[in-house]
Amino acid sequence: MTDPNLVGGTAVDAAELSRIDDSATETKKPRSLWGDAWRQLRRKPAFVISAVIILLVVLIAIAPGLFSHREAGFSDLTKANQGPSSEAWFGYDNQGYDVYARTIYGARASLLVGVFATILTVVFGSLVGILAGYYGRLIDSLLSRLGDIFAGLPFVLGAIVILTTFNAPGSNPGAATIIVQVVCSIAVLTWPVAMRIMRSATLVAKQLDYVKAARALGASTPRIVFRHLLPNTLAPVLVYATIALGAAIGAEATLAYLGIGVRPPVISWGVMISDSRDYFRADPHMLLFPGAFVTITVLAFVMLGDGIRDALDPKSR
């Protein structure tokens, strides 16, 4: 394959080239789309920084004990509402909890919910969207209207029903169970957005010449969808995904607030932000620190997503 930098200067569609490569040059191993992307990414500082941040957050989530000598459940009511100090870097909240310890221990649930809810939403939504857009007609109508019904469901109602159906009222499910349920509820109730985005991108992409050409050459449907349509429709969905990550953490806070999300002793950033709502006039540190962690994490994912998209999308090179 020619150097992508050179290709970028011409009017030739790189994706089309890669198709030609795939089919014509079986003898030498071609550099795949992903291989190219990886090469390019390694050289971008924004990507490296965001990857380091994400790795750090993941490490905190896996082994919070390395970062905080206090348990999340530590509380000392006599110190409640105190601001940051050398003893408690982020201060104490209204219950006398150490905000730093809780922020560290809250990473796990937040990251799990944010990442998995986003992945599930985006993967499922995109799949449905690409099918609807590609096949059109009856399948499009069916899938789109199904999406409309789900999109019309109020999130609160759906979540209450889903989460209370699986947990009898008054029961106290374990941490893993509740996180899985929260992830599924968010995914079930938010996939139509990803679906519509993917569908509209597919509608445009399937009219492009190289897709028509691939079809004319007798490429199989999975091949057309995954090799040709997907790389060209990924950009808007990826943008949505990075934002959905932040939204999922927020949704998790809403569920916790309603008493159906993660619950003590499990904590999350969403729960901490939700708990701080009545106190940010008196104890702004209760909101600021977990809020900052969410912002930085989401920011890292947004930059990571931007980097990956730029690298994957041949047109923007």
């Binding site: 009511l77 006599t78 409640a80 219950q95 008054g170 106290n172 607030y257 619950r263 008196a282 104890d283």
Partner: protein
């Protein structure tokens, strides 16, 4: 018997009272405390959407009673500042045995439609409220009247044999007689509750239409209602009672959030809110926000944590003592509740006649004794406290759990329920898997109302499923003692017996902290957490 659902438990996102645009016409509203009293002013209070139709026998929560109580006058009323009962529509209530009550009513009182209030209006209203096919929410208030079982059979499937209670007899236009099933010394106080209001003749011909436009005999009359927006009332100038109002219009403004209502109050768009939102309490901000506009009262209520006997391992007196002594009530009420509550030390609210300090000997924070009792109890496993989490219910219970955990070294978690309805269905269905919040506020100011409904075997609010024959017997004895002071003494003995068993753990007692606008010169918070309208004076 009712718990104000909205205040004690309801969704944070829902509810509020109304407020008054006092002096909205004057334009000089900022003249402050030096302003003259305006007899034609408007008083706007925070309100919440009524849960039921606006009929006295069907109104049991704060949202509806804010309007209904102003529109109706009962036989007996309670003074706003000290909850002392006095005869309002009653000329006299006489009894010799606490079983047969002879009631004479005052003459010349009129309903808002001009018809006179007669004895039969009371009797008909009470019969209507008790008759089971009418399905009135307050029907059980009439249950100690003779003949109640005939109009409201205990068996759900049985049809009532009559629609009139035999215990109610009209003796003339202005006199009727009430016979109870058994002596009940507190009856003359109980009839001050909203459900015992009279209803005009027009009600019985069209109850549905009446609910849209209620006609009462009270100090204020109905003007209009817009669902989820407001309820407007205006002064009844013909009113004869002593609790006349000194302003003209009452505007009960419905809010979705207490926070917003509080912000409106600070900007003088609202005149009164009977409770402060958690954000105002945080860091005791309300003290600096409100200064002179803080209104304190004496609520008659008590917060306890029920320790159900049906939960495995909980039928253990040492465990109960250990938990109770491990809760640092003083620290929690100070830090988490910002001085709006005081530690509870008994089963009766502190403002009630018959209250004695330190009835509950295990309600003092004593870590050493708690640890010893816990070791003795041999309890293994995890403790939980469940409650609906909204409306500020969660924070004090989380703090209580932390206190227990820090003292006893046992795991303790707060378990949330989605809303008050779901929470109560868990409790009444006996599906608790640990401890649970169990708060109570009195319907009428009597020590009896703190014991009978909660600790008697099979009582309607016996959340712990407590049963002690000795307590039941003392309560029976007190109920049938005609002399008030003697009865109180026996109720106190029952309280002592309960305090030895710790069926539930008293934790705190709410002071009652409300706020008024600067246009409001005076207002009193009554024991039911409402503005005492007769005390209100608004400035021009």
């Amino acid at each position: 018997m009712r718990r104000s659902r909205r205040l004690w438990g309801a969704a944070a996102v829902v509810t509020t009272l109304s407020l008054v645009l006092a002096a909205c016409g004057g334009g000089s509203g900022s003249s402050g405390s030096s302003g003259e009293v305006d007899p034609n002013g408007t008083f706007t209070v925070y309100g919440t959407e009524p849960q039921n139709t606006l009929i006295p026998t069907n109104t049991n929560e704060l949202g509806g009673s804010k309007a209904v109580d102003a529109m109706f006058a009962e036989l007996v009323a309670f003074k706003g500042d000290n909850a002392q009962p006095y005869n309002q529509m009653a000329e006299s209530i006489t009894t010799t045995d606490s079983k047969v009550f002879d009631i004479k009513i005052k003459q010349g009182w009129k309903f808002h439609d001009g018809t006179e209030v007669k004895a039969k209006n009371f009797v008909d209203a009470w019969n209507y409220g008790a008759y089971s096919p009418n399905g009135q929410i307050n029907s059980t208030f009439f249950e100690n009247i003779q003949g109640y079982d005939d109009v409201h059979p205990a068996d759900d499937n049985a049809k009532p044999t009559t629609d009139k209670m035999s215990g109610l007899v009209v003796k003339g236009d202005y006199e009727f007689q009430v016979t109870l099933k058994a002596p009940f010394s507190v009856f003359a106080t109980k009839i001050g509750y909203t459900a015992f209001a009279p209803l005009p003749d027009v009600f019985f011909s069209d109850p549905k239409g009446f609910a849209q436009h209620p006609i009462g005999n009270g100090p204020m009359k109905f003007v209009s209602r817009t669902p989820n927006v407001d309820i407007k009332l205006t002064r009844n100038d013909d009113y004869k009672g002593q609790d006349k109002v000194k302003f003209k219009d009452l505007d009960i403004k419905i809010y979705a959030s207490q926070e917003t209502a509080y912000q409106d109050l600070l900007s003088n768009k609202l005149d009164f809110i009977e409770t402060l939102p958690p954000s105002a309490l945080a860091g005791s901000k309300y003290k600096t926000d409100l200064k002179d506009n803080l209104v304190t009262g004496h609520l008659l209520g008590i917060s306890t944590i029920a320790v159900p006997y049906y939960v495995p391992g909980y039928d253990n007196l040492d465990l109960r003592k250990a938990i109770s002594m491990a809760i640092d009530r003083a620290q929690i009420t100070k830090t988490v509740m910002n001085d709006t509550y005081v530690p509870a030390d008994g089963y009766v609210s502190q403002g009630i006649e018959g209250y004695r300090p330190a009835v509950c000997e295990f309600c003092k924070f004593d870590p050493a004794a708690a640890k010893a009792a816990f070791a003795k109890s041999g309890f293994k496993g995890k403790l939980t406290i469940a409650s609906n989490a909204d409306g500020g219910r969660k924070e004090p219970l989380v703090a209580a759990c932390n206190s227990i955990k820090n003292v006893l070294g046992v795991e303790c978690d707060f378990v949330p329920a989605t809303d008050f309805g779901q929470w109560r269905s868990i409790v009444t269905g006996h599906k608790l898997t640990g401890m649970g919040r169990s708060d109570w506020s009195a319907d009428y100011p009597s020590i009896e109302d703190f014991l009978n409904p909660i600790y008697r075997t099979g009582a309607s609010s016996n959340d712990s499923v407590y049963s002690n024959p000795a307590v039941d017997q003392l309560l029976d004895q007190a109920d049938s003692t005609p002399d008030k002071d003697a009865a109180i003494k026996i109720y106190q003995q029952a309280e002592d017996a309960i305090a030895k068993d710790l069926p539930s753990i008293p934790v705190w007692d709410e002071k009652g902290v409300a706020a008024k606008s600067k246009h409001t010169k005076t207002v009193t918070l009554d024991f039911r957490r409402r503005a005492d309208y007769s005390s209100v004076e608004v400035t021009k």
